[in-house]
Symmetry: C2
Subunit: 132 residues, 2 copies
DNA sequence: TCGGACCTTGACGTTAACGTCAACGTCAGG
DNA sequence: CCTGACGTTGACGTTAACGTCAAGGTCCGA
């Protein structure tokens, strides 16, 4: 079997370029424990898993999640297969809280968007009026 | 005609309490030009307009808008009745850009929410399995 | 063998968005 | 008249999330 996409790796520079961030950002997130790239004699080697986590993290950052919140969420992706009842219960409770927070932000952004488009509509009316 | 709700005013402390922020935040936003309360002999007097703007601003802050972005938007609410064609056109263009950005964030948050609820669902299955 | 283009760690700088503190004025209650 | 609760400005402190720079290692083509 030939080398498959799942085996693909990246250097810091490569991954940074692809994600549209700097290498500093990747090192920072590593120091914060959000990603854990392998090493090849000192040099970092990022795999598909690191890349996937980074994309999730960056998406969260775009709508106001802190890096700490991002870490909490991506960590939960790993804990979901846990076999300990106690742990699963607290995890689930936390997940529900997080979902609730996300829904609130969703409502906030929806209202703001609706207002912005309203104002834009007023502008269009005004323009039509001035031109008509 | 008696005093109506529209004439209601607030002191810094009162408004801060109602909005759930500190007086420092109100003074900061004023310094940044987002609100412009009246004065009663040195003391700030906030009117319904200030309160309304603050609520819009705080809502924006909750989902990741910077204070600068918030100011840009609330300022546009005022410029929408402009009578200058040129100004209306650039304003409208900017509003469309902003709306586009908001829609992107909306998509980001929607995807994240869907993933979080997925993980929660996995947790529930696992729990049912362990208990069943 | 030399210069570039990468990579490393470590340390200090920067910006946003406030928090905190000092020093002062003002006004009502006891 | 004094205290306490409120207000003011000004200045410095803090935290997150990186940016930037220094000082060095490695490898590769000319």
């Amino acid at each position: 079997m030939a080398t498959r996409a799942i085996d693909r790796t990246w250097t810091v520079g490569e991954l940074a370029d692809e994600l549209g961030v700097t290498t500093r950002t990747l090192r920072f997130y590593e120091a914060e424990g959000l990603i854990t790239p392998e090493r090849a004699g000192g040099n970092r080697v990022y795999g598909p898993r690191d890349r996937a986590r980074m994309r999730l993290i960056l998406r969260g950052r775009r709508f106001g999640m802190t890096v700490a919140e991002c870490r909490e969420i991506v960590d939960m992706y790993d804990g979901a297969e846990s076999s300990e009842l106690r742990q699963l219960i607290t995890l689930l409770a936390r997940l529900d809280e997080i979902a609730e927070g996300l829904r609130r932000r969703q409502a906030d952004i929806r209202r703001t968007l609706s207002e912005v488009t309203d104002v834009a509509e007023q502008c269009r009316s005004r323009l039509a009026e001035l031109r008509g």
